[in-house]
Symmetry: D3
Subunit: 248 residues, 6 copies
């Protein structure tokens, strides 16, 4: 019986408890501290008027992202990338994924010549840090855009945001498709897939990897089904977080 | 009519002419110069007895990969990453993808405590360099394994290779799903997907990205269909290249 | 009248509200999230049996520290040091200060051949991040030592801890000596002094810097007086935090 | 008898078979794949209007070069300099040599404010890679200049090229002066000399190094004699390659 | 008896023989080779009209400093920081200290939009290199300012220099407060303090560190007393060096 | 008339005044401060028993060299390579040249498994720094070898030194071959040649570069003639310096 499969008692479809603490940072234009169970990511969105030189005068804005893990966010301490003197491949890959995912719901023309830098810093890691980052960063992004609109950096009628976006990690563990893998599940997964989905239910990214045996079309379909259910739930949670009054 | 869509006259399903020049390098244990139209990648496989220290004594081997582009493989010259002093995010991401793809068809126990380093150096780039790299690297890998078996580094009866592996880039351009995107197509694609498939037709990696608008399930399915046809053709070409006598 | 001097209504001697959330991290052997007003630092202590090679066989342990600021902990976003590819002078200086301060209350012989790495990551910055780091790191250190003792890495009777340690930033602003400078005060200070003091009231570090005009002996004495009062209060808060039961 | 000296049957004066595949690259403004026996170097010349900022407004152009070896161009795989994060001394030295050698036959006034970057990437190495690079780069350079002239970046009557340039490696092995050392010869050479010579027979660079015993004036003279014969042959080969029609 | 304490026969208060060879460098605008016993530091001051971009147009100048040790200035050879590819924490810390110390006696408004870079290169190290650097750098700075005034970069009536500045290392060794610690004393010191003092006797920096046991207020006071006597002597030596005619 | 050619009144053959201050450093096993006119280089030789790991057990020693310029050794301040984070091509090239030149007079078998690191730090630069470095380093090397022999690291009867070695910069300026180019001459030279010669008068390195027009065989011969006269004089000066008693 699959009910007994998961160490924390969840059903295959069930995500961990997700909380979104909007406006966590007193400094950033937008921010959210998001938790998926023990996974905690601090997402900030920094708004600056103007764009990098290579974009100047084109009338479009720029959204980019950086991801990083605190050295002791993990079970064993990792060396800092600042100390190593270089950013590792995994960090690069995830930063790029977060940036692409958010740009997918941004109309850069409507954003105007403004820059938003998203920072996702993992304070505690227990699987799913990249998908939690995307989901939390969206909330920070919305608040940074609102901040900019209130100060006139973005026109009143402009609609830089075209949709919402959320992400979930799904995978096959012991032959069973599961949603929102915790670290112990992720490390045993035969197939691991990160799926980024808009509020309208379309795909922004599908990244499936066979960690053990290659996977077939039926397995791929089962994972996509799971992902679409979970990202719908996450979109609801994002909407709820944004419905509250912003922290002053 | 979609026949008129592609600048080089191909049908949507058709790949560019693919050639695999096996044993191109006189130095490496295995090698292949692979072309997909104007895209040319030199793939070498370097075999060394022994494994990195962190694997020693575990009885398993190691396969890893590095990807790089010559500075003038592209239309405009790019700065060398050695001069910049760091490897960029895209390079890291592709190197990791190639490594994972090849490891998916390797039984590291059967490989024994031996290391194979794959180098994929793009001599000329016209789209699809990462998927050409994987497809060519497989041929180099087979020859390096054979080289090692002949010299007794791998036991006669050991079967380190569990399947073949090939990859294709597919995407939606102007609403039409196309296989093997050339650079001009790739830069206009709404959705871009790299698919890595074993000789048996199972998935090793599925990486789909919405470059423009998000994509729906039907589009995803159409792309996967295209990819499976093309990777079956590539598997045949790999088999044909390996059927010839090795260069002495 | 000095009562009106400080923007947040504090008297010259008064520190901001200080909270110490012990055991914040579920991963680290010891941890504390410390706040001095809006300044928030996550301090973790990572315990590992064994010492770096250059200490092996000498029968002594090793305690070291690393300090870092999240890019948007500050009012304007700072570039990540991992992206720059090097650690800045200020970061180095503070990391070294934290390490020396904690080693001053550690008997490395009693610690045995074990290593403790302290990480102080500033989540939000409003002045006094280095002194908050030292004060919080002490609490994390105590818990990591207790963790190690419970698991037998440190002998039952060994006393690796010789005292407690806390730190405060003091300075002269507009001619008035003030304790626990907030960022707006710090940026206007003529003289800025960081003082690290043991629970017994002895000095571990005294670092006074004339930001504007040089300071005389009387001013130096007034600052030291202020610092000793505040570090006594901090020592009480540390004791109180450690008196509670540890988070399981 | 010296006829029996060389492993590949050459006489002391004889170079290995040299081929120059002009226009190998479909992307670069000029290119040549040059082989000296098993040594193969891909040389490209990238033309860009304009000069680096420090030269702007001086009315002179700029020619520079970068040399690199593919990791498995050699018998044992070498680590990539991009991965190491720095360019080694030998690479720097050879890049500078190639740049100086080509600038010696360029009239930078006649070139105008334009930049040419030469890339020499060693695909396979068997001795003499730096001299092969210079010899091949000259052909690529000529084609890049022609490309620029056809597009009006260089005036019709301007003569940026003052001469041709070629280079050869010579050395004393077992007491016998030899031309065009293969790797096995180079590694046994007592003296090793790289000589860069113009089409008119004048010296651009003479770099002689005693690898074993110091060398006397008579030996130096014998090596220079050999070099002048070989570079004359190479100048003929360059002329022949350039006499063919360019690849469209 | 404390007379017998010091290996070189000095009394606790006595500094080593100090010599200041003003104008040592024929290239720099100001320079001094300073010795404290075997410690020898070459200090140069490089004057350039203009300021870094972030200061342009603010009407103020800039003084900064860099400290470095020759690899064999010490008893055992140290690796060069240029070879390591990064500047260490200690180097950063000392460079910053020297810069702050000199800026404390500079009126940057009176300096105008000009930059002075101080370089302190330790040729031979025997303790007290940072305090020798500050003391020597002041002399170099004065000459660079004079050089600039003579050439009209600084107005005749401007007074960019507000005071002189010198520094000394003091410490407690075997319970006895000592001035100007040589290396053998420094390595045995329980407490080590660097004190930077103006010609008027005010403090610019006080950096006291407990190397062994924490120190109490009485010990702190004794060290400050010692430091003030020594820096008064150093101010006299600086004045004497500057009284001589400059090297042409 | 060539007598009037040189700004400092020298004849074409004449070197600048050369002084060798042997034993300048109190720390290094061997050292010399060498001057060629205003060019001043501090050369140290650091002796360590043992060899790098890759040489261990082969019974041979290792001699290597590092060259560097102080930032204000030149007329305009240069950025430190430690700050840039990488060693430049010119520095690499010269370090390698110095190392090769000294190894040419070392019998590494007779040296035994010992390492000597030569450091050449340019304190003041006025042309010819690389050749001054080689000439001074030889003196430092001799003393380090003697130091090692006295302490038994090198056998009494071993003869690790096979000859002396010195170097000179020669060049053609305004059509006239000159010896020991000062900076103003070097910057105007049409051809520049560095020649390294043993005490017996054989060549170790000949590095000739056409800075302006290519040079012919007669010019090459004239430069070599000049170089051999100057290096003979330098060998005499080295002998004289080494004839004095070593500094204790």
């Amino acid at each position: 019986m699959t009910e007994t499969l998961r160490a924390d008692g969840r059903t295959p479809q069930q995500t961990r408890p997700v909380t979104i603490e909007r406006g966590w940072s007193a400094q950033a234009e937008g921010s959210a501290l998001i938790s998926f169970g023990s996974t905690k990511v601090l997402c900030t969105a920094s708004f600056t008027p103007g764009v990098p030189r290579w974009l100047t005068g084109k009338g479009t804005g720029w959204v980019t992202a950086e991801y990083s893990m605190l050295p002791r966010s993990t079970n064993e301490r990792m060396q800092r990338e600042s100390i190593k003197g270089k950013v590792g491949g995994r960090t690069h890959e995830i930063s790029r994924l977060i940036g692409r995912s958010l740009r997918a719901v941004i109309d850069t023309k409507a954003l105007g010549e403004n820059t938003i830098v998203i920072d996702c810093d993992v304070l505690q890691a227990d699987g799913g840090t990249r998908t939690a980052s995307i989901t939390g960063a969206y909330v920070a992004l919305v608040d940074a855009l609102e901040w900019a609109r209130e100060r006139g950096f973005i026109a009143k009628k402009a609609k830089p945001l075209t949709d919402s976006v959320a992400a979930i990690s799904v995978g096959i563990v012991g032959g069973v498709p599961l949603s929102d893998l915790a670290y112990v599940e992720d490390s045993r997964a035969e197939t691991d897939m990160n799926v980024v989905v808009t509020g309208s239910g379309d795909f922004v990214e599908v990244q499936g990897t066979a960690e053990g045996a290659p996977f077939n079309r039926a397995e791929l379909d089962a994972l996509l089904d799971l992902a679409l259910v979970s990202t719908t739930e996450l979109a609801d949670l994002q909407r709820a977080a944004l419905a509250e009054a912003r922290r002053p």
